[in-house]
Amino acid sequence: MSNGALGAPHLPRSQPLAKPGIALVSARRQSLLRAGDSRIADQIFYYLMLACGASILALVVLIVYELITKSSLSWHAFGFKFFFASDWDPVNDKYGALPFVYGTIVSSFLSLLIAVPLAIGTAVFVTELSPRWLRTPLAFTTELLAAIPSVIYGLWAIFVLVPILRQYLQPWLAKYFGWTTLFEGPPYGIGMLAAGIILAIMILPIISSITREVMTAVSQQQREAVLALGATRWEMIRIGVLRNARAGILGGIILGLGRALGETMAVTMVIGNRPEIAKSLFAPGYTMASVIANEFSEATGDTYLSALVEVGLALFLVTIIVNSLAQVLVWSVTRGMPTRNG
């Protein structure tokens, strides 16, 4: 082919113009330049970043694979009965996970019962009621609760919360609410109630911050419209804000539930770690996460270890379902992806 300067009109239209100063190049050289310009490097960079992104998928697949293969022994030995049998007897190699499932469910719902009103109240106060200068410090302080490690919550619970429960709260509950049969038995302090309370403190920040987030996402016009109709502050919040944000708030609550289900250390330290199903909230219990924490590194025998991994697999699946549900709900209000130019 002729060279570029004279032959320019003959070039295919799609070909980019040569850079100034290097106009006199052959088509062959031009294509080389183009490639050297960045195309290969860009491709490599893209695939590197893609690999990083895909590593997240790979990790989840890996987790599932590990849990399924390592629990197959127990699955084949006990089948579905595993989750409905309540004897956990490593000595005779018999395993039933019902007490742990029960403990996890009861402690989590107990914590939601305590945390949800407080979290929503805090969010309402911070976004709608508090003076402007107080908002950021309040939000920051509640976030601080989330930065405290689980083991420190547990430490505090053992030495501060449990004695308070034993001496004051539990006798009081037994006296006035003993008829519900939920508060029976000796007040040890340690037990399901203590686990529920410490879990509530721990999941408060997540519920509160998501509630704040979705409440802020409700448009200002909604508030103004309701106020213009003569509503009081509370009516404005209820009709204008909470009603529009309810799906997201529910998402936040479910996300809190996901946290509570999987929370390990603090619960292990105060729940009492006894695989029994008791109606009283004063009684010690055991959760799925705690049994893994306590027994995994000491598990002798393949079936024992496999049974513990199966408990883990069940916990994993439940939290995945719960979290996905929560994500969908929160996304329905905030529209998921962070937007460009914030």
Partner: protein, 293 residues
């Protein structure tokens, strides 16, 4: 004339009942805030009150003494925690930032959404499960508990957090900045690394620090990976002490001396976390870091 519309006198029309409910709810919300701040205050107060007495030079420089002997410290646990966190960061930070770049620069499509969703799911996986997986991956392969296994477990927990915050921070960089770079003939990968990522540096670092703070106090995934150790260890394939593990085992022990040390360890741990996070926040806020705007 009394044709003046009554509706202009709004406050008088709101019934006593409605006003009562309003003040009741406002009061309840205030009470909720108080009840939330109460445990926070109590925890910090107790940490300082109980912990300050046990933190001294010996505590910071010595390894644990056997039961019954007073004294000793958590030096090896503090060092071990830092060691494990370094291993975790070495793996988790590049992967996390890379994933964040992918999501913000190449992930505005279905596959990106899928990765985004998976990252959020991975974020919610209980830490104890991550411990089981790291045990299966590293401990079983190596044949013993190790600092590396602990690092892998913590890295798995860091990646989704860093990825999501990095993505959010990169998206804050205006599209025009990228276009300006392309317009000058800068290639896409150079633009991403030297323009976009650099502009968002302070935000990305904040995200990394948040992930760091989140895993710094983790105990559950270390129970059967790093396992703990009463002595110093700097070998990546040997069991290693960690501050959080030490606090846990001392807290559930029956000895007063160990309880005292657990509070000391907890104080050190919270100081490490709070100081590292605030320091970076302040630095990022004042634009002291390269590329901060």
């Amino acid at each position: 004339m009394d044709s003046k519309p009554k509706s202009l006198n709004l406050p008088h029309e709101i019934s006593f009942y409605r006003r009562a409910v309003n003040s009741l709810v406002v009061g309840a919300a205030g009470l909720a805030v108080f009840l939330v701040l109460l445990p926070l205050g109590a925890i910090f107060a107790y940490l300082v009150y109980k912990g300050i007495g046990s933190v001294n030079w010996a505590f910071l420089t010595q390894t644990p003494k056997p039961v019954g002997e007073p004294g000793g410290g958590m030096a090896n646990a503090i060092g071990g925690s830092v060691y494990i966190l370094l291993i975790a960061s070495a793996m988790g930070v590049p992967l996390g930032i890379g994933a964040g770049i992918f999501l913000s620069e190449y992930g505005r499509n279905h596959f990106g959404n899928f990765v985004r969703f998976t990252a959020d799911v991975l974020n919610g996986v209980p830490s104890i499960i991550v411990g089981i997986v790291a045990y299966g991956l590293v401990v079983l392969t190596q044949g013993h508990f190790s600092a590396l296994a602990g690092g892998v477990a913590l890295a798995i927990m860091m990646i989704p957090t860093i990825a999501r915050t990095t993505e959010a921070m990169l998206l804050l960089v205006p599209i025009q900045v990228r276009e300006a770079a392309y317009g000058l003939g800068v290639s896409r990968w150079r633009t991403t690394l030297s323009i976009t990522l650099r502009t968002a540096t302070s935000g990305v670092i904040t995200g990394v620090m948040l992930a760091f703070a989140r895993v710094a106090g983790e105990t559950a995934p270390l129970l059967f990976t790093a396992f703990g150790n009463q002595y110093w260890n700097w070998k990546a394939n040997q069991p290693t002490a960690a501050l959080s593990l030490q606090i846990f085992s001392y807290a559930i022990s029956p000895f007063d001396e160990w309880h005292r040390q657990a509070w000391g360890g907890a104080l050190i741990l919270i100081i490490l976390i709070v100081v590292s996070v605030t320091a970076v926040r302040v630095a990022a806020g004042r634009g002291m870091l390269r590329g901060a705007n």
